[in-house]
């Protein structure tokens, strides 16, 4: 019974990771690639670690470690993704030609890297 549950969870996790890998290869733009991969890879890795937590039930230390890794992944993956996307926006990574709207255009100060609210500017469409 527990083996069937672990098999199903493993399959879903591996397919989520495969979707992330296909997404990072096929998406046309850095920002789309980031948006696709971080969520799917975190879901897949979390499900596979949950399998490990279920598989070693008599060892409490392994379950604790697996839950700690899940917590750490869900905590750090969005932070890392936000930081690398911010750095990419500053160094001027080009956007996809089909991008219709960029809410950050003109909001960042080029010198100090501070984000303004844009109340002075009325419309900031690309």
């Amino acid at each position: 019974m527990i083996a069937i549950l672990i098999g199903i969870l493993c399959t879903i996790g591996a397919l989520a990771i495969l979707i992330a890998a296909i997404g990072i290869l096929r998406m046309p733009d850095f920002y789309l690639r980031l948006s696709v991969t971080v969520k799917a890879a975190t879901l897949g890795g979390g499900l596979l670690l949950l399998c490990a937590a279920f598989y070693f039930p008599e060892e409490v230390s392994v379950t604790t470690k697996a839950v700690a890794i899940i917590f750490f992944l869900t905590l750090t993956a969005p932070v890392a993704a936000h930081l690398i996307a911010r750095a990419a926006y500053f160094i001027g990574t080009e956007k996809w030609s089909g991008t219709v709207r960029d809410d950050l255009a003109g909001m960042y100060d080029k010198e100090t890297h501070k984000l303004s609210s844009g109340k002075k500017d009325t419309e900031n469409f690309m």
Binding site: T11, A14, F30, V38, I69, I84, A87, I91, H113
Partner: protein, 90 residues
């Protein structure tokens, strides 16, 4: 079919194919940031592979390695983001 053979013949090939696809992006990536997120995803998939392998071989010691690797992936991405931003700023 036991869980170990299922993992060895279905789950690990899927993860290996994912590693191959991400590695193509790591080699091709037009910008530095593409390579950084490809490396980050590569390490995340590595954590998954280590976890699945520890289930398959019933050796729970490998989970420790996965923990350290997850930590290093986060620190690496943070360091890359920090220095890329500093480089653009002069």
């Amino acid at each position: 079919m036991t869980l170990s053979t299922y993992i060895d013949y279905v789950i690990l090939p899927i993860l290996g194919l994912s590693l191959l696809l991400v590695f193509i992006r790591l080699l091709r990536g037009p910008n530095v940031v593409d390579r950084v997120i490809a490396l980050d995803l590569l390490i995340t998939i590595g954590v998954s592979v280590i976890t699945v392998y520890s289930i398959s071989t019933e050796k729970s010691t490998f989970i420790d390695v996965a923990m350290i690797l997850a930590l290093i992936a986060f620190l690496g991405t943070i360091a890359f983001a920090y220095y890329l931003e500093k480089r653009g700023r002069k």
